[in-house]
Structure formats: structure tokens, C-alpha cells
């Protein structure tokens, strides 16, 4: 297994950058939408120290099988509200990800048009065999974010 694929996922939102940055980082907000359909984030597991060098922790659980749990532990290596954050992640419990190889998640929030924000997620490196599945996961997760914001956001 060679992890050498970087995923780059982009989507434009009709919301200002601070709204999106908060949705991505504030624990109570991210617990409301993170995870692909069929999964949810266990609210009580989410903790985030929102600063450079701060730690982040959350557990995603399968809706129909609570025994399937994927844990993310991360350190923010960049944190600039509302421009960008970068987290160095250790993901445990996902068959396609080696928990001993760190992943990097970079999320950029770029002003576009009058009020729009382009969210660019850069994550990797992934092994080629699982990269496709994870990119589809991100696509579905972003639709979930859009629905969450359309319903008014803020948990």
C-alpha cells in the first residue's frame, strides 16, 4: 500500500467566510453536520482547542451499528480565522487508513463573487484504493453542510 494520493475537493457556498469557518471548527456546529450520510459525530466526544498547536478530537459512529467508530485526533498546525486551518490528523478505526501514518487536512475559505465562499479541502496522502471512496464521502459531507446551513446553521 502506497499512500500518495492527495484529495482536493471544492465547493462554492452562498455564505460568508466566517459562517463557514465557524461551521467547520466550533465543536457544537461541526457535531451537527460532519460525517457522511449514515454516520454521525458523537457530540460528547468533540473537543477543540481553536488555536495554533491546539488539539482536536472527535469520534464518528455508524448510525445503524454504533460499534463501528472512527476516531480523529489532530493538532492544528495552522489556524487563521476565517482564512484557513490545517490539522495534522491521526485517524483510527478506518480500515483504509493506517493509524500510524499521519494525514494532513487543509481547509481553505476563499472569498468568491459578492458574498460567496469557495471551500477547498485538501487531504492526504491516501492509498489509491481508498481515495475514491473518501472523495465520495467528502462530496456527500459537503451536501450535508449545505443542508445544515440552509436550515439556518448554528446548532
Amino acid at each position: 500500500m502506497t499512500a500518495n494520493i492527495i484529495l482536493v475537493i471544492e465547493r462554492k457556498f452562498d455564505n460568508p467566510r466566517p459562517v463557514l469557518f465557524r461551521a467547520w471548527t466550533a465543536p457544537e456546529e461541526m457535531a451537527s453536520w460532519r460525517g457522511s450520510p449514515g454516520w454521525h459525530v458523537e457530540r460528547e466526544t468533540v473537543s477543540s482547542d481553536l488555536r495554533l498547536g491546539g488539539r482536536h478530537h472527535h469520534v464518528k459512529v455508524r448510525d445503524d451499528d454504533p460499534a463501528v467508530r472512527v476516531t480523529t485526533d489532530a493538532v492544528f498546525t495552522e489556524f487563521f480565522d476565517p482564512d484557513v486551518f490545517v490539522a495534522r490528523q491521526r485517524i483510527t478505526g478506518d480500515d483504509g487508513i493506517d493509524p500510524d501514518l499521519p494525514l494532513e487536512l487543509r481547509v481553505e475559505f476563499l472569498e468568491t463573487g459578492r458574498d460567496g465562499t469557495l471551500v477547498r479541502i485538501i487531504q492526504g496522502p491516501y492509498d489509491e484504493t481508498v481515495a475514491y471512496e473518501h472523495s465520495q464521502g467528502w462530496e456527500r459531507e459537503l451536501t450535508r453542510l449545505q443542508d445544515y446551513l440552509a436550515e439556518g446553521g448554528r446548532a
Binding site: 500518495n4 494520493i5 492527495i6 484529495l7 482536493v8 475537493i9 471544492e10 465547493r11 462554492k12 457556498f13 452562498d14 455564505n15 466526544t45 495554533l52 498547536g53 488539539r55 478530537h57 467508530r69 476516531t71 485526533d73 489532530a74 493538532v75 492544528f76 498546525t77 495552522e78 487563521f80 482564512d83 484557513v84 490545517v86 495534522r88 490528523q89 491521526r90 483510527t92 478505526g93 480500515d95 493509524p99 500510524d100 499521519p102 487543509r106 481553505e108 476563499l110 472569498e111 468568491t112 463573487g113 485538501i122 492526504g124 491516501y126 489509491e128 481515495a131 475514491y132 472523495s135 465520495q136 467528502w138 462530496e139 459537503l142 451536501t143 449545505q146 446551513l149 440552509a150 439556518g152
Partner: protein, 461 residues
């Protein structure tokens, strides 16, 4: 709040090794060799065909006009192109390279000025067709962590291509004698033939060795919806200008200063060297001819510096940020140009011009690292074309305004023109400070340790 549904763009980008990055960019060498020939050898051909010196600016009108019109148009068209067989960007730089090769091949056989002018328009249009999709190709293909390497590889090949084009003229002149019936020497013909081979040959290597990343089904569906001809492409350019991210607008100001300055340098460096080293302003004197020859060496030298330092800038951009690196490079060039006109020793001129070589490497690579982080990947092509407009418009402004500035403010002194270029580069560096680059952590050692779970009991697999 109502929310419009937008397409998600997903790309899976494999990390590339250095060999793959160099192969991918090799075609840029051919394109820049072609540009080098255009810059250096086309005007002598006009002269061999008996054009008068005052006709040269109008005969060279092709450069700014095609740059202004063709690059954004081709960029917008390439954004809306996808063929499973030919790709998105490749058809454009393949057609462009083919056009360059044919024009370079035919150029030395031009028997009249109108033929040479027609070929220059076609050559420049071909160069422009190839160039911007090539930049977008880098942005499409490389993951963000490798973009710096990609763009600075292009910067490396820019210096290398232009240097070799100039070198071929210098070397062939020494060994090849005779000429065509129209009066074009065979050594010029040799350089053009070599250019014709390099142009298509190197692009073919890149095209055959580097596959493009196919768009997702959602992206293909969006592309199909967008289909349209020339009018749609023009509309798309207009929309991209209206929706341009504010930081990219600020980059336009940096470009205004730096490209205005570069044109001032290129236009007046020979005159400046003639005045400060050979103490002549008489363009018909043998001293002036020596100054022109020496300037060729100086320009060759700064292009050598360009390809020598291009890759060192990668590491620096990663560590310090692209913004800081570009500012520092512009300041190096400014310092060099402020010293340059005061030197009277011809050999010492090679020292300050190192600063311009460093800045030239940065100008051709580093701003693109920042620009592609400011724009959606689905519009790389059109924005690369617009960035080229940011280059061409200052050139046109310079053409229209600098004559007046030169005779009134600068006292018709070419040394002052070089000083003026240095000051403009300081302004470019200052404008760069205004841009907000997505920040880069400088001291990461303390936070890069593998994150550990604070509650291991929760980890299940």
C-alpha cells in the same frame, strides 16, 4: 437563508516525483525557446528585410495584441473542454506548439516584410495558445503541496529556453556562413530550425509522458451545460473579471509595477550600458555596437541566474511563504537596477544584474503559486489568461506613457530609465505586502508530532 446548489469538484492528485515534474514541464522549454527566438531574432530579420528602425514598434504590435486577446480566450475555452482522448489543456498546447514549429520553420524563408509580419502574428498567436493552458495544466495536475515545484520548474525552463535560443544564435554565427537570397544569414536559419524541432519535440514528450486528470461525472455534466462558442467564452472572461477575488486584484497592482519596470529595463539597458561604460549616445558609433553585444551577454547571464535559482526558491517559498519570497526577489532586482547605471566597468555589470535574474525566476513562477490558491480550479484556464492580461496591459501602458516620462521627468537619460525601473520594482514589492496570502506556519516543529489520542479507550477498530 436560501442556498443555491453548487457542483462539488473532486480531484484525486497523485504526488509526483521530480522526474515526472520535469517531464511534465519540458514542453515549456520548447515554448520559451520559441519566445526567445521571437524576442531576439525576429527584429534582426525585419532589419535584414530592410525595415527602418522607426517601423520596428508597429511591426512588433503582434505581441501585446495577441497576448491581450488570445490567452484569456484560449484559457476560457480550455476550461470548458474535455475529451477522453485528448484531455482538457493538451489539445491547446499541442496545437500551439505545432503552430510555433511551422512558423519558426518558415520564418527564415520570408522574402518580404509583410510575410515576416504575418508569420510573427501567427507565431505569437501560437505561443499564446500554448502558454496559458500549460500553466493551467500544472495547477490541474499537481496537489497544492507540489505547485511551487511545478511553477518554478516552468520558471527554470523559461530561463533555460531563452538562454539556449540566444546561445544558439551566438554559436551558429561563429560556425555557419552564407545566406538566403532574401539576405537572411544561414546562422539565423539554423537557430530557427532548431527552435522548430525543440518546440514540437519537447511538447510531445510532455504530452505523451503526462496524462491529464479526468473530471468527475458532476463536472462533465456542468461542462456540458456550459457549452457555447466564442460569445460564451467572452461572457465567461467578463464574469471572471467581475468575480475576481480581491487578493487577485491586488496582484494586478504588483504586476502593473513589475511589468512596466521590466519593459523599461529591456528597452533602455543597451542605451544605459553604452552611456555609462562606453560613454556614447550615438547609436551609429562602433562603441554603441559593442554596448549592444555586451548587453546580450548581460541578458544571457541573468537568464542563467534565473534557471540556476528557480528551484532554490521552491524551498524558500515553502518555508517563508510565496509572498515573502516574491517581495525579497523584487527588492534584490531593485537594488541591482539602482546600482547598475552607476557602474563604469563592463565586467562589474554582471554583479548587480544577478538581482534581476533572481527576480525574473520569481516573476515567472512565484505569483502563480499564490494565484492558484485564490481561484477555483474549474476556472484556472480563464484566470491564467486574465493574469496574462495583467502582464500585457502594463506593457501597453508603458508603450503609451513612457516616451513622455522619459523626455520630461527623466531628462532623456537612459541611466535614469534604469533607475526608474528600480524604483518601480520597490513599488511592486510594497504592493506585494498588501496581499494577504493564506498564512504558513513558520515554526512547525513543536506542533508536527503525531497526534495522540487523549482517550485511548475510545479508539476501536
Amino acid at each position: 437563508m436560501t442556498t443555491t446548489a453548487h457542483v462539488t469538484t473532486v480531484r484525486r492528485k497523485p504526488l509526483m516525483n521530480m522526474r515526472q515534474i520535469l517531464l511534465m514541464n519540458l514542453g515549456f522549454f520548447g515554448i520559451q525557446y520559441s519566445f526567445g527566438m521571437q524576442q531576439t531574432a525576429v527584429n534582426p530579420i525585419f532589419a535584414f528585410l530592410h525595415a527602418s528602425p522607426d517601423e520596428l514598434p508597429i511591426l512588433n504590435l503582434a505581441g501585446p495584441i495577441t497576448g491581450l486577446l488570445i490567452q484569456p480566450l484560449i484559457g476560457a475555452l480550455s476550461d470548458r473542454t474535455w475529451s477522453p482522448r485528448w484531455g482538457r489543456r493538451k489539445p491547446f498546447f499541442l496545437i500551439g506548439a505545432l503552430g510555433c514549429s511551422v512558423c519558426l520553420f518558415l520564418f527564415p524563408f520570408a522574402a518580404a516584410i509583410w510575410m515576416a509580419v504575418l508569420l510573427l502574428w501567427l507565431l505569437d498567436a501560437s505561443n499564446n495558445t500554448a502558454m496559458e493552458p500549460y500553466r493551467a495544466f500544472i495547477a490541474d495536475k499537481l496537489p497544492p503541496s507540489q505547485l511551487a515545484k511545478g511553477f518554478l520548474a516552468q520558471s527554470f525552463f523559461t530561463g533555460f529556453g531563452i538562454t539556449l535560443a540566444n546561445l544558439s544564435l551566438f554559436v551558429f554565427q561563429k560556425f555557419i556562413t552564407g545566406g538566403t537570397e532574401a539576405g537572411i544569414p544561414y546562422w539565423v536559419l539554423g537557430s530557427f530550425m532548431l527552435g522548430a524541432v525543440c518546440s514540437i519535440g519537447t511538447v510531445l514528450v510532455s504530452v505523451l509522458s503526462t496524462p491529464e486528470i479526468p473530471p468527475t461525472e458532476a463536472e462533465i455534466a456542468a461542462l456540458r451545460e456550459k457549452k457555447g462558442g466564442f460569445g460564451t467564452a467572452v461572457r465567461e472572461i467578463w464574469d471572471a473579471i467581475v468575480e475576481m477575488p480581491p487578493e487577485l486584484r491586488k496582484l494586478a497592482l504588483v504586476y502593473l509595477f513589475q511589468w512596466y519596470a521590466m519593459v523599461c529595463y529591456w528597452q533602455y539597458v543597451s542605451l544605459s550600458v553604452a552611456k555609462s561604460v562606453w560613454h556614447t549616445e550615438d547609436t551609429a558609433s562602433p562603441e554603441f555596437a559593442k554596448a549592444v553585444g555586451w548587453t546580450g551577454l548581460i541578458n544571457g547571464w541573468y537568464n542563467i541566474v534565473t534557471f540556476s535559482v528557480a528551484f532554490s526558491l521552491v524551498a524558500l517559498a515553502r518555508r517563508r511563504g510565496a509572498k515573502f519570497v516574491h517581495m525579497a526577489c523584487l527588492v534584490c532586482a531593485a537594488a541591482g537596477l539602482l546600482v547598475f547605471p552607476h557602474l563604469t566597468n563592463q565586467y562589474l555589470l554582471f554583479v548587480p544584474i544577478i538581482g534581476l535574474g533572481i527576480a525574473w525566476a520569481s516573476i515567472m513562477g512565484v505569483p502563480y503559486i499564490m494565484a492558484v490558491r485564490m481561484i477555483p480550479s474549474t476556472r484556472y484556464g480563464v484566470y491564467m489568461g486574465i493574469i496574462n492580461m495583467m502582464i500585457v496591459v502594463p506593457m501597453l501602458i508603458q508603450t503609451l506613457t513612457f516616451g513622455g516620462i522619459y523626455s520630461t521627468v527623466l531628462g532623456d537619460d537612459p541611466n535614469n530609465a534604469i533607475t526608474f525601473a528600480g524604483i518601480l520594482l520597490v513599488c511592486a514589492a510594497a504592493a506585494m505586502a498588501w496581499i494577504k496570502e493564506p498564512p504558513i506556519v513558520r515554526d512547525v516543529d513543536s506542533v508536527l508530532a503525531m497526534p495522540k489520542s487523549p482517550e485511548p479507550r475510545e479508539v476501536t477498530s
